[in-house]
């Protein structure tokens, strides 16, 4: 294992996959000589040249459209969309063209492309800080991956660049200032595989991306009070690793779903429904953003989205409610 910055883990995955497969190309704003908005493509332009590392204009619809067409024609493009919010502009090409291509052509055509976009609130205000992952989970034909560590970013991006169809790779602004352990030998993480970050027997905390970092902090706080939370990092939002989730939920009997975005039709709503089908007596709750856009004021931003204290509070409430209901019976 080596400790790398999050951006370096992404850079290593891209370099290895570009070495391995000449069809992998990169498209995005400022990714060539500048080295990427987060310095994640630093050195790739110099190494692989302008035909494989291409700057695009500030035109996300065109960038995603270009990627979808190039993918259908036989390349493996990785399109960088600086903020997940801007994927909205490319949704037609992504949803109507890339995600449906395999279905519409009875498997004769595919669009093996990756859209990499950065989600999350970190002072950018209402239109540059959203977590819209559930919109993408809703689309048949899309794979949605969201790492929370440098090691997973490496393993999942490599998997994405070999996937048979379109993948949206969602990272988070607050993951970039961190380092993390990355395997020295090549290692891929399969789609649909969640990670148990911490074991516990009282409740299961389920989250993804930066919220997994906060869920682990919340689990520390809860442990100090004698509550043992099992923390599951989804890593793959579609497909979902129902097996790992259900095994944990059966053991703990309680599941709290935490996401940074809206809870209405959110990740937690889908997971709670799916898990209740598999674990009938499971007690569930969910925590996400308040029903308002992410505010540009740091105070209001912090008020809008979950923090570790809020996660711990929701976990205590879920357990207390269960205890009370058992007492009433």
């Amino acid at each position: 294992m080596s400790r790398l910055f999050f951006r370096e883990a992404l850079g290593r995955a891209m370099a290895e996959e570009m070495d391995r497969d000449p069809r992998v190309i990169l498209l995005g704003q400022d990714i060539a000589a500048h080295g990427g908005s987060y310095a994640e493509t630093r050195g790739l332009f110099e190494r692989f040249g302008p035909s494989r590392v291409r700057n695009t204009p500030v035109a996300e619809a065109a960038t995603v459209g270009l990627a979808a067409g190039a993918a259908a024609a036989g390349l493996r493009p990785l399109a960088f969309i600086t903020y997940l919010d801007f994927v909205m502009l490319g949704l037609d090409a992504l949803v109507n063209y890339a995600a449906k291509l395999r279905f519409k052509s009875a498997g004769q055509l595919t669009a093996p492309m990756v859209v990499k976009a950065t989600a999350g609130a970190k002072g950018q205000g209402p239109t540059h800080a959203q977590s819209l992952e559930p919109w993408l989970m809703n689309v048949p034909g899309l794979t949605v991956l969201a790492p929370s560590t440098a090691g997973d970013a490496y393993g999942l991006l490599k998997t994405a660049l070999r996937a048979p169809g379109p993948v949206v790779f969602v990272d988070h602004k607050k993951l970039f200032p961190r380092g993390g352990e990355v395997p020295d030998k090549e290692e891929l993480i399969p789609v649909g595989s969640a990670a148990v970050r911490r074991e516990g027997r009282h409740l299961t905390l389920v989250s993804h991306s930066y919220m997994s970092v906060l869920a682990l902090e919340a689990a520390e706080m809860l442990a100090a009070e004698g509550i043992e939370a099992e923390v599951i990092d989804l890593r793959s939002l579609w497909p979902i690793d129902w097996e790992t989730l259900a095994a944990s939920a059966r053991r703990t009997g309680h599941a709290l779903f935490v996401e940074e975005g809206q809870v209405v039709c959110g990740v937690g709503a889908e997971l709670a429904f799916g898990l209740r089908e598999r674990v009938p007596n499971l007690r569930v709750d969910r925590l996400g953003a308040r029903r308002a856009p992410v505010a540009p004021s740091p105070v209001l931003e912090a008020f809008t989205i979950p923090d570790a204290q809020g996660i711990a509070r929701s976990a205590r409430r879920l357990l207390a409610k269960a205890t009370q209901e058992e007492g009433d019976r």
């Binding site: 400790r3 910055f5 987060y38 310095a39 607050k174 970039f176 200032p177 961190r178 380092g179």
Partner: protein, 102 residues
Amino acid sequence: MIRGLVIPKELGEAIEVRLLQWYKAEGDHVAADEALLEFETDKAIVLVTAKQAGALRRCFFAAGDWMKPGDVAAWLSDEPDEPLPAERSAPAEALLVTFDTT
């Protein structure tokens, strides 16, 4: 007086940084305005320059090591033979430095 070379907390959102290189070795005299070390955040390379003279006595990190803002990276002393504290956690006056970011 023993002075601590403190990794600045005023580095924006940096949570961890990586030491790239020392410009001085243990035992070296450091003049004011001489470069001491260089480290890397997720976004930038930061050069740390001493603003007061002293002797570099002990480096707690080597090139490639990860540090956190607020960590004491080294001890310097005003006189080259002043005795050092036994414990690494001993409080030390912060060395005056400047930071240049590229």
